[in-house]
């Protein structure tokens, strides 16, 4: 096998090492990974704690949203009841959908990822532990304050999809919608941070020799999940920015009287919203694939087919967004394209289902609670998938759209595809984090209550939909044949809830959290690395992997790992560290030093939340104060991570010496930054889509562009920025081996300033041409371009100042330097985006 990084694969033969490591090493390892005691536990950043809290929090939101659902079902148990007022009901269903999608489903799978991935990959922790801590705290605080809006009656009531114009200031004048927009935007940022962490974690922190072909299915699923978040979530961020701009500054992006278009929101929202369904489903499918293999006691049949299915779903799910919009009056051929993609996206789902069935057939099932949940999920998911195919048929969708048929469909898919697999995972992986496993006997009750409750609740809804019951109604008229169906649904909902309650009872009785072990152990006989004996540091040494189920192929592996006979035994540098491997073949590359416990991610999260809350209630001075504190806290936390290195390189066992941290294209931070630029670039690209969409829908409000000469000048300035950056890097390289001097950063700073000036020229150019952001949709979207460009320009200016500061301390090294590289790269991105934002509107002017 050829090497990816020049690492000699023969060296894997050195492991396991013949001799056991001395016991002092283990003590040292435990000391290094020690958790703060007492109340200081909240400063912990280790994934064992953060992951567990994260899972518990997301489950809490599942319960809260579930309680809202029960309230709605009581209201709908009989026709025309007044258990709650229409306004309360509208808030309930809005919050139920919002919480389930944004505060439960996505965070829950992300949380399971944070908890399980390092163990499955045998990494000591995720690559950016403080970032996960920040993401968790931001989510907890933001989520709880969002939920609290229900108690003050200020909860949003525009539906989780928030369609304007109902959510525009004209029809929703209060702050409830702002609360939603800022709250959700904030939580999305937390989700994106988590996704970056997970992508880098899966690609760079795998155990040595765990090639892409040997990754656990869940890791594959989380990789696709992360990439999908990076592509899809910018759409909802742009949505919130656009609607907030309309609400706060009166920019008519969705107001048809001034050239806006309410359908723009729907396109952008569903470009996020449909992939979101797969973002939720794929990780759960990854968990299913792993559990299926274990309960059938055999390898997953069609591992590679399954991977192919994940990747195919990841792509095709981006071509189905408008099947939520078949009834808005799109041209016929357009609806056809989305119908076709909806059919195509079912193919990979079929592959996964049959992989699971084939695996069950090729092995011999051992019944257990996870096994029940897995088999039940397959049936429910297939049923939901089939109604999905029905809804993909345009003429049928015209009838069934926005009725209870869709309610039934989506709950089958989400509960069969995500909730039940999650419960299976709770039963399956609890022994990893608890001293005692959950009860098999109670678990069966939980399963049968939930399984039957689900069918009793949602099966009748297919019929209520066809009988004409629309969605999102707080009541229905008597005498329309809906009474009995709804009563049955309500009873089913309570049966389902009873199942969840019994699960809570099981947890209270049997769950005893332990991060350090001894835990209940591998009671289901899984074959992947998370079942190795582990402490807070994960495994004592990191095993060299030769197959997909290393524990099945090498029964001795646990002992070998525990005796420290594999790679990176104990601690090589005397600090927290993990092994960074290459993305494809997982060849050891370097040792990453990891930050320890810190209060600053928590402080930053509290003040980020208070920043967004203050914006919502328009307490601008306090918002500014919060922003400053947040920035200070983040810089303070980064400060620690930049400590000078004690050692340059260290031995990881078998005489293999690896460098300690590297810079450049193989560093994990470089990866993270590139992913971040993709996120910002996606927001820009979708804004360009919005421009063309509005142009197509209201060309009559488009005005003539500023003079061509001015456009050429601005374009020239942006090209000048690129030239300056190129020159700066060139100078740095030319001074190899010497002090960098001032010229490189001065050139980069000149570039950033030139980009700022170009933006200024762009703005004044449009103002002179008579464009007014509040008058027409063209003004709104063009000034939106500039607002987006303004944000990245400000970031690049801050970065340049930071670079100057580093240079003053003599920290800019030749011929390559990470800070210089990142600043130049980002400023280059600013120039390219500026170029696009300048040229696009001037190339497509009005009369």
């Amino acid at each position: 096998m050829t090497s990816e990084t020049g690492f000699d694969h023969k060296l894997y033969g050195l492991f396991p090492q013949p001799r056991k490591q001395p016991d002092e090493g283990l003590k040292e390892l435990e000391r290094v990974w020690e958790t703060p005691r007492g109340w200081k536990i909240i400063t912990a950043v280790n994934n064992n704690y953060i992951g567990f809290w994260y899972v518990v929090t997301s489950f809490l939101f599942f319960l809260l949203a579930g309680i809202l659902a029960l309230g709605m079902r009581v209201q709908l148990a009989a026709p025309m009841q007044d258990f709650m007022s229409p306004d309360t009901f509208n808030q309930f269903f809005t919050m139920h959908g919002t919480i389930m999608m944004f505060l439960f489903a996505v965070p829950a799978v992300e949380a399971i990822g944070v908890m399980l991935l390092p163990q499955m990959l045998s990494a000591r922790d995720l690559p950016f532990p403080r970032l996960s801590a920040y993401a968790f705290w931001a989510y907890l605080i933001g989520g709880l304050s969002f939920f609290a809006s229900l108690f003050i009656g200020a909860a949003p009531d525009g539906g989780w999809f928030m369609y304007p114009p109902l959510t525009s200031t004209a029809f929703s004048p209060g702050i409830a919608v702002d609360f939603w927009l800022l709250g959700i935007g904030f939580i999305e940022i937390s989700a994106i941070a988590g996704a970056i962490e997970i992508i880098v974690g899966v690609l760079r922190t795998r155990a040595p020799n765990m090639t892409l072909d040997r990754m656990p299915m869940f890791a594959w699923a989380m990789l696709v999940f992360g990439v999908m978040i990076i592509i899809a979530f910018p759409a909802v961020i742009l949505c919130t920015l656009l609607l907030e701009a309309e609400r706060m500054f009166n920019w008519p992006l969705f107001d048809p009287t001034r050239g806006g278009d309410p359908l723009l929101w729907q396109h952008l929202f569903w470009f996020f919203g449909h992939p979101e369904v797969y973002i939720i489903f794929l990780p759960a499918a990854g968990l299913m694939s792993m559990m299926v293999a274990t309960i059938a006691r055999t390898e997953l049949v069609g591992y590679r087919l399954n991977v192919l299915a994940l990747v195919a779903t990841g792509f095709i799910s981006f071509g189905v967004w408008a099947h939520h919009m078949f009834t808005v009056g799109m041209p016929r051929v357009s609806t056809g394209y989305f119908s076709a993609a909806s059919m195509a996206v079912s193919l990979p789902a079929g592959i996964q289902v049959f992989c699971w069935i084939a695996t069950l057939a090729s092995g011999k099932i051992r019944w257990s609670t996870p096994a029940l949940f897995v088999v039940g999920s397959i049936v429910i998911f297939v049923m939901g998938g089939l109604t999905g195919v029905m809804l993909g048929m345009v003429p049928f969708d015209w009838q069934a759209h926005d009725t209870y048929f869709v309610v039934a469909h989506l709950h089958y898919v989400l509960i069969g595809g995500m909730v039940l697999p999650m419960f299976a995972a709770f039963y399956y992986w609890t022994p990893m984090v608890s001293r005692t496993p959950l009860s098999e006997r109670i678990g069966r009750w939980v399963f049968w209550l939930m399984f039957s409750g689900l069918h009793i609740t949602f099966l009748p809804m297919h019929l209520s939909g066809l009988m004409g019951m629309p969605r999102r109604v707080y009541t229905y008229l008597p005498g329309r044949g809906l009474d009995l169906l709804n009563l049955v649904s309500t009873i089913g909902a309570f049966i389902f809830a009873l199942g969840v309650l019994v699960f809570l009872y099981d947890c209270a009785r049997n769950f005893r959290f332990t991060a350090k072990g001894p835990d209940a152990g591998n009671i289901f006989g899984g074959g992947t690395l998370e079942w190795l004996p582990a402490g807070l540091y994960s495994t004592r040494s990191i095993p060299v992997v030769h197959s997909r189920e290393p524990l099945w192929d090498n029964p001795e592996l646990s002992r070998e790992v525990e005796e420290g006979r594999h790679m990176l035994p104990d601690t090589a540098t005397g600090t927290r560290e993990t092994l960074i491997t290459s993305p494809v073949k997982a060849e050891p590359q370097y040792i990453q030093l990891m930050p320890g416990p810190s209060i600053w991610p928590l402080v930053a999260a509290i003040f980020t939340a208070s920043f967004f809350m203050s914006l919502t209630v328009q307490a601008y001075p306090f918002a500014a104060f919060s922003a400053v504190v947040t920035l200070a806290a983040i810089l303070r936390w980064l400060w620690d991570t930049d400590a000078p290195l004690a050692v340059e390189q260290a031995e990881v066992g078998g005489g293999i010496v690896l460098p300690v941290t590297v810079t450049g294209a193989s560093s994990h931070s470089w990866w993270a930054l590139n992913i971040l630029m993709i996120v910002i670039g996606m927001i820009g690209a979708l804004a360009v889509f919005a421009f063309f969409f509005l142009y197509g829908s209201s060309p009559e409000v488009w005005i003539a562009a500023p003079a061509l000469g001015q456009t050429a000048m601005i374009a020239g300035m942006y090209l000048g920025v690129l030239a300056l950056l190129w020159a700066g890097r060139r100078v740095l390289r030319a001074r190899a081996g010497r002090v960098a001097g001032d010229l490189p950063w001065v050139l980069v700073m000149a570039g950033a300033l030139l980009a700022t000036w170009a933006l200024y020229c762009d703005i004044t150019g449009w103002l002179d041409a008579g464009l007014d952001p509040t008058a027409t949709s063209m003004g709104a979207i063009v000034f939106m371009f500039m607002a987006l460009q303004g944000q990245v320009v400000i970031v690049s200016l801050i970065m340049v100042v930071y670079l100057a500061f580093r240079e003053a301390r003599g920290l800019v090294t030749t011929p390559h330097n990470v800070t210089m590289d990142i600043v130049a790269r980002f400023t280059g991105f600013v120039a390219v985006q500026g170029l696009v934002f300048t040229i696009v509107p001037r190339l497509f002017p009005g009369a």
Partner: protein, 327 residues
């Protein structure tokens, strides 16, 4: 007209499966085929699961390899989906055949939370106004011009056709045709805030001759003003009319032939002829009309009409009496 309204509109059989026109017929056939497909495929998967878990060794070996995945997970769905897609696309095409311009035209505008109805002539001029009710002749193709005055709504008469959204700033055209007479319920299917749940209407299909007579009479009545005369003969009606004008009703409602010319609320020129009160939610007779005027907020919380609870029962009844004879 008012007899057993609710029961006639909905109920068993489900309207989606009980088509009353060509634009719903073929979708019903498709729906049955899709249900059959759903049941068969679920059956196949459950059977495969049963074989995988409990089946004889020989069968399990067949099912337990990648070949099963290729056949069951790729080939079989591939064929089924291709057939469905072609069917769906051709059906979509046949249901959205170009509009010739010879169809009868009715403009329906979604408002919070009722439907404004305007009958158009061939040139597109409004010839007659109504609300929350569309009457169409049997066997005549109709095009509904759907608009919205405020937020998104959706126009759905499941017996006659699929739904189509009412989008501010756009005009969507919905084709429909009834092949039998009857009353068919309709609702707003897109969430529009507040009492969205209580936003309905009625579609009434009549024999063409009957429809034509009714339509001609209405157009004649709407264009001139014979109504004012009717109300003066009876003191109660005169009082009702006076109260209507004095209490601000006229600011929002229009009654042809009187000073009442408000356009914010439903046109009441033919109120007495309407099947429902409150946008499809109550049968229309003098009692319910009285109740609605006096307590519309109690009946449909959050709607735009205030409750006239400051008027006495006797006064409300007079207004209802006057409105009830506007036919």
């Amino acid at each position: 007209m008012t007899e057993g309204l609710a029961g006639a509109l909905w109920g068993w059989p489900p309207p989606v499966l009980d088509p009353a026109g060509p634009y719903a017929d073929s979708v019903t056939v498709l729906a049955w085929a899709l249900f059959a497909m759903g049941v068969v495929v679920t059956g196949i998967v459950v059977a495969a699961l049963w074989v995988a878990l409990r089946g004889p060794e020989r069968w399990r070996r067949v099912l337990g390899g990648e070949k099963a995945v290729w056949i069951g997970g790729v080939a079989f769905p591939g064929v089924v989906l291709t057939v469905l897609l072609i069917w769906g696309l051709t059906l979509t095409a046949s249901l959205t055949k170009p509009i010739t311009g010879d169809e009868m035209r009715i403009r329906v505008t979604g408002e919070m939370w009722w439907f404004r109805v305007e009958y158009l002539d061939a040139a597109g001029n409004v010839v007659m106004r109504d609300a929350n009710e569309v009457r169409i002749p049997v066997g005549v193709p109709v095009v509904f011009e759907l608009r919205s005055a405020d937020v998104l709504h959706s126009f759905w008469i499941p017996h006659l056709s699929g739904k189509l959204d009412m989008v501010p700033g756009r005009t969507n055209l919905l084709r429909a045709e009834a092949t039998r007479t009857g009353q068919f319920g309709g609702v707003c299917a897109e969430y529009c805030g507040g009492p969205h749940a209580l936003m309905g209407f009625v579609a009434i299909a009549k024999e063409p001759e009957e429809w034509q007579r009714w339509f001609d009479a209405r157009v004649a009545a709407d264009s001139v003003q014979p109504l004012a005369a009717v109300s003066t003969t009876n003191p109660q009606l005169a009082q009702g009319r006076e109260l209507f004008m004095e209490n601000g009703c006229a600011a929002c409602h229009r009654v042809a032939g009187t000073q009442a010319n408000g356009l914010a609320g439903p046109d009441l020129t033919f109120m007495g002829d309407r099947a429902t009160v409150g946008a499809g939610i109550l049968p229309n007779h003098r009692g319910t009309l009285t109740g609605w005027i006096g307590d519309s907020q109690g009946i449909k919380p959050g709607n735009r009409m205030p409750s006239y609870d400051r008027l006495s029962a006797q006064q409300l009844d007079a207004i209802a009496a006057w409105l009830g004879q506007l036919k």
